[in-house]
Every structure is written in C-alpha cells, then in structure tokens.
Symmetry: C2
C-alpha cells in the first residue's frame, strides 16, 4: 500500500538537502542544489542517449558505474553542455568540491546541470554556492532544493510516498524539472529520487529502469531529447528492511511499485507543465501485438504536431490520430480498429463512427484533461503515454528563448 | 543537359490533361483532374507506407503492380481515406468510369484523392466531373489540371525539363500538391510525372525510387506522414529514344537525372509552401559514416520543433541543432563536429565558436532562405534535406482546419 506523504526529497529517513542562490540564473532565484545522505547508499542512474551528452552526464555516468554514491550536486541556469574540455573540468570541479566538503571520494557525487547549452559555468559563483549549500544541508531543505533545479518550470514537481517494504515502513521521494525539450529516451531532463530502502545497486538499477520505462520514457512534450536528461536514485537502507538482493524477493516488487508511483507522478507533472500546454492528454493504445508496438503507436500520436494542434483547437480530428497510428510501424487492422475520445467512439472499423451526440463530444474536447483510447485489433498488449497540446504559446516561448 | 521548359504536365509529347470544377471542394474551384496518354505507357508509382492507406492508394497499388497505365484520375477536397468498403467501391468507380470513357481496362488508370479524411466521396459529382474532364482533355489543359489537385496550397507546383536521352530530345514534367502532413516515406502527398522517354516498367520504377529518395523523401514540414502520399509516373515512349532496358545504359542515367531535377523542384516548392512557413531551410550533413546516417541526422534537425521555432524567431540557437543531431542515431564525434549557418561557423569541436561578426549572423538569420551545414567528423558521406520553420501561423492553420 502506498500513502502519499509530505516532506519532499528529504522525506525518506536520513536524507538532507539544500538549495541556494549562487547567481547563475539571471532571475536571481535558487540555482544550486545539494542532496546528501550521511549513510552510504546504493546508487543507480539513467541518462540521455544524446551524442552531445553534457559534461555532468559524462561525469555522472562514471559514478553510476560504481553503484554507490552519497550526494548529488545540481545547478540550473547553465547546462554545461557543448562546452568541451573546460566543461568537463568544471563538472569534475563541482563533484570534487562537494565531495571534499562532505568528506567523500569524488566518485560518490552525481553532477547535473540544466539551462542554456554552449555556455561555460561561472565557476567562482558555483563554488561559492556549493559551500553555502553544503553548510546549509538539513532535513528541512527540500523546498529550496526543489527551487534550485527549476528553469522554465512554472510549478515545482515533487512526489513522495510511504509504503510497506518486506514488512517494515519505507519511504521514497522524487523531484524533477522540465518543461521543454522533452522526449526522453532514458530519463527526462533532471529528476532525483531518494529512498530509505535497503537494496543492492544492481537491483536498484533494474527497478529504476522498470519504473522509468512506463513513466518518464512514456511522455513527450515536443519530441526533442535533451543533451542533459538524467535521473539518479540514492537508496540509503535506513528503513531497516532486509536488503533486497534478488528480483524474486516480494519486496523487490514493492520497491518497483513505489518507485513507479513517484516517477509517474513526476512524469505527469512535467507534461502538465509542458511549454504552452493548454491540454493534458492521456493516450492509451490497446489490442496491440506487443507492449513495444502499443507504445510506438501511442508515442506516434503523442508526437504528431497535427494531432497536438487539433487538440489545441478543440477539434476532434480523428483522421489525424488514425494517420499517426498508421505511420507508427505498429501492426493495426483498420477494419477492427476503434478510437474513443473521453469515452465517446469517434471512429470504428477504420471509419467515421458518426457521433450522435455532438454536444457531448464538444464538451470532451473543451476539457483540460482528455483521455484518448485506440484499439488496434491485432493482439492483447496495451500501453499508456502522456502528452500535451501544441499552442501559439509553445511557438512564442521557443521563438523568444534567447541563445 | 537539362533545359527548363513551359507547358506543365503536358509538355512531354503525347500527353493530354484537364481539370474541372466538380463541386467537391467547398471553395467551388477546380477539384477533379484527368491526365491521359493515348499511347500505351510504362508506369511506376510509390505510395505512403501508412497502415490506414486511402482507398485510392490501394487501387493504384494494383495498377502499379502491372507496370503499365495510360491515365490518372485525381480529386481534391476529399481524401477518401478511412472510408471502409464504400471508399474502395468509390475509388474503383472512379477508375472504371475514367477507363470506360477512354476505352481502357480499369487497371490502366491510377486513382488519387486528397483532402479531408473520413468523409465519403460525393460520387454523383465525381462522376459528372470525370465525364467533363475526359471530354475536355487537351495538350493545353495543364494549368486547370494543376489547379484541380490543390488543397491548402497557396501556389501551384510544377516543373518541366527538356533533356537529351540516348541522343534524342526528350521531356519530363511533374506537378505536385501539398503543404501540410508532409513527412513522406515514399512520396509526398500527390505528385504526378509524365515523360515521353521510352523505358521499361522495371527501370522506370527504379529511376523513380532513385529520384524520390533524394527529393521528396528528403523533405519534412511537420513530421506527419499522410495516408494518401502518392507519386505516379507515366512514360509513353513518344520521344523515340531506343527503349531503356538496362541500368548500365547511359540513357538510364540521363533519365534519372531528369526525373531527379523535376522531383527536387517539386519537393522544394512543397517546403516553400509549408503551412505557416516564413523560412526555407536547406540542411546539409557532411562527414558522416554513410548517406543513411547523414540523412538521419539532417532529418532529425529538420523535424525538431525546437530548431524550427528558433528559426522562426531568427535565433541562431546552435545548441538545439547539435542536440537534434545528437539524438538522431548518427555517429558523430563532437570534438570534430562543425556547424555553419549561412557560411558562418557558429559551433566548432562541439563548442560555441564565438562568432566575431554578430551583425553578419543576424543578417543570415533574417533571410528567407538559410543554408545549414553540419560536419559530423566521422566519415565522407553527405545528405541534403529541406524544411521550413514553425510559426504561429502553422498552429493557427492546423488548430482551425475543420474536421
């Protein structure tokens, strides 16, 4: 059983956090965050597959390979991406300073950055910020820590649950940022998760993959995969459960369910904050040959600019939806296909379903949240993804965002 | 040598065409076109790979399989797609009526439709239109024929050349329509090509594939692949060249070059007419491992909403361009990469190139036509694609287009 709790990223036992104003962001808001567990942790992470991976991603990949870590240092306002050798030096500098202040080895600190691409970090400001953040670490620092990772986000994204793990009470919490350049293939922009579960590094990584596949890897805002996408999880074992060391352990399933709940909450919040979004679309594809085909069809619909602009226009343009399914590569039998919008059948057997209650359909299209269901008629598998619409505001935000 | 000529789709010897107002389009403009060669033709065609292929596509696939045809019947204003059995009956009806009026077998007539998805054809109007179009066929009908295939196009797309083919003078001409739902995988919406070259059906198909791969399959407007994409070519042999029956025949290369010239002209015109477009972007990727990787990288950039909105905003946001290259799957060595906009190096070795002449770069970004060149640093292959920007107007057109 999962119970939503307060307390953000420091809700799990034994975690501290802080967020400070280092002066990296022009806005002058919090822009540097440190998350820390005094107790050693199993650690796992997933990263962007973009070839131009940011410096922080390259440094954090080395940390993830070790399977243990105790701290995460993050800045917003500058992505430290496409910054060459200097960028690598700066990312290593962030890890080194944080590690030395906390008495850790450098490879026990994840590094992440988000913001503008191609600009070097103002390292004097970053260093000063890290010193103040480490000095200010506390179990109450979760709100400032969350502020410190935000960029174009219009609201903070946080989720935390208490759950039963092998008979004891455990907690899991996550924070995330991201509103544009969202089409993750490993994780979505930046997301940090803490848990007091005791679990081996290998199984923590496996659990993270399972959770991310159906959550952050099932959303799209604009189809662009960032150079900085990162999700890190630290598990410090303070809940006191018998350490999870086999996937067959029922506690492993409990951990996956809790991690999935947190990641799904964060993924949906990211879509709700999609740049310029006026609609939140849940797209479920059923009757597919496999989960992968169902997801491919759902993502094809979720990514289509023609579908997204139609929803912005509150237009039940089912032809565009079937068209996007049709080029997704998923096996579909048009004569057995079906499409519903808010529960109303708008296309059936590959044809117009001649909706009798046009007013009810108008009402569905006018809602902020709309559920789209598509039956492919070729199997039993299904998948759900989330996306938003495509508005004037999206174009405005992205045409005006200065390089 | 290729010489641009006038005369449109009927410029090649022995072709007739007509376009009439059948009353399918609400606008009352020309909406039904017939193209005809009294002499037998080799025929080839390429179609959408969308699973929800329109009825006309399904009928035309059977025609293409035969390798010979003498006529094309096209309507605009209704796509006859997602229309089930009735749609198939209507498409066959179009072919049958055209064939019987021209004294041909049904399988010698290509059928194509474009317009709104999911609505049945008004067959009484279509039949009346076909009768009038066939009665009005002439070598001067090319302009009305071109009007008859247009939908949201803001200008007609036509290209014609005279060229030397095996020592004689031959001609090739093409017309096309399309401004949205453009991300072809076989051909772009509707395109019809005529030539008086003598060529076997098999080599005509091979030549068409070669031409389309570097032209219509190298453009994207919005990333949506239509249910109706079709390109047909008829070759009636009236030029009197020795029939081309082997790819080793130098005349085969002459034909491919001429077809490629026509298809490239049409493809670029389609991009220039991209819905809401304010920019025409030519994106060349060089130094790639293979043509396919170069094209994948170029298409990834061309398709990125973040890149397209940046060009709309006249913002030289090179980070977004490298980011789109980075997730394309193409092999790239960031430290050897280079990006130029209008000949100005904006990123080099995976980093900001610190442009000294900011005014010159502003001038490049303010132009309507912009050339983007990206060096991957991993090989010798290159590819060029064309796209447009993403404007408020794109959103407006597609949010308002009524189902």
């Amino acid at each position: 059983m999962l119970t939503a709790i307060k307390g953000g990223i420091t809700a799990p036992k034994g975690f501290k956090a802080a967020g400070v104003k280092a002066g990296i962001k022009k806005s002058g808001k919090e822009d540097l965050t440190v998350i820390y567990s005094p107790a050693p942790c199993s650690a796992a992470a997933l990263f962007t597959t973009n070839s131009f991976a940011a410096a922080g991603v390259q440094v954090s990949r080395e940390v993830a390979a070790k399977g243990t870590a105790q701290a995460i240092v993050v800045n917003s306002g500058c992505a430290n991406s496409c910054t060459g050798e200097q960028g690598m030096e700066d990312a290593r500098g962030m890890a080194h300073l944080t590690a030395s202040l906390l008495g850790l080895a450098d490879d026990q600190v994840f590094v992440a950055s988000t913001g503008i691409i191609g600009v070097n970090l103002p390292m004097a400001k970053v260093a000063d910020g890290i010193k103040r953040a480490v000095a200010g670490l506390s179990a109450d620092g979760h709100e400032k820590a969350l502020q410190g990772i935000m960029t174009t986000d219009t609201f903070p994204k946080v989720s935390a649950y208490e759950f039963t793990l092998g008979g004891v009470t455990a907690r899991v919490a996550g924070i995330a940022k991201g509103a544009g350049m969202i089409h993750p293939n490993m994780a979505t922009l930046l997301s940090f998760v803490t848990t007091d579960a005791a679990v081996s590094p290998a199984l923590l990584k496996q659990a993270l993959k399972e959770a991310v596949n159906v959550s952050m890897n099932s959303i799209t805002v604009d189809g662009d995969m960032s150079t900085n996408d990162t999700i890190c999880v630290l598990a410090n074992g303070q809940a006191g459960n018998k350490p999870i060391e086999a996937a067959g352990d029922p506690a492993y399933g409990e951990l996956v369910a809790a991690l999935t709940a947190v990641c799904t909450d964060l993924a949906k919040l990211i879509v709700r904050d999609g740049e310029g979004a006026t609609k939140f679309l849940e797209i479920t594809v059923k009757g597919a040959v496999s989960y992968d085909e169902a997801k491919a069809a759902a993502m094809s619909v979720a990514r289509s600019p023609l579908v997204k602009t139609a929803f912005f226009g509150q237009d039940p343009n089912w032809g565009r939806i079937l068209c996007a399914v049709g080029y997704s590569g998923a096996t579909v039998e048009p004569a057995k296909s079906k499409l519903t919008l808010g529960g109303i059948i708008v296309a059936e057997n590959g044809m117009n379903a001649a909706v009798s209650d046009a007013k009810a359909l108008q009402k569905v299209m006018a809602e902020k949240d709309i559920v789209v269901e598509i039956e492919l008629g070729t199997g039993d598998a299904s998948a759900t993804v989330w996306t938003c619409d495509f508005s004037y505001e999206y174009v405005k935000i992205n045409a005006d965002y200065s390089t």
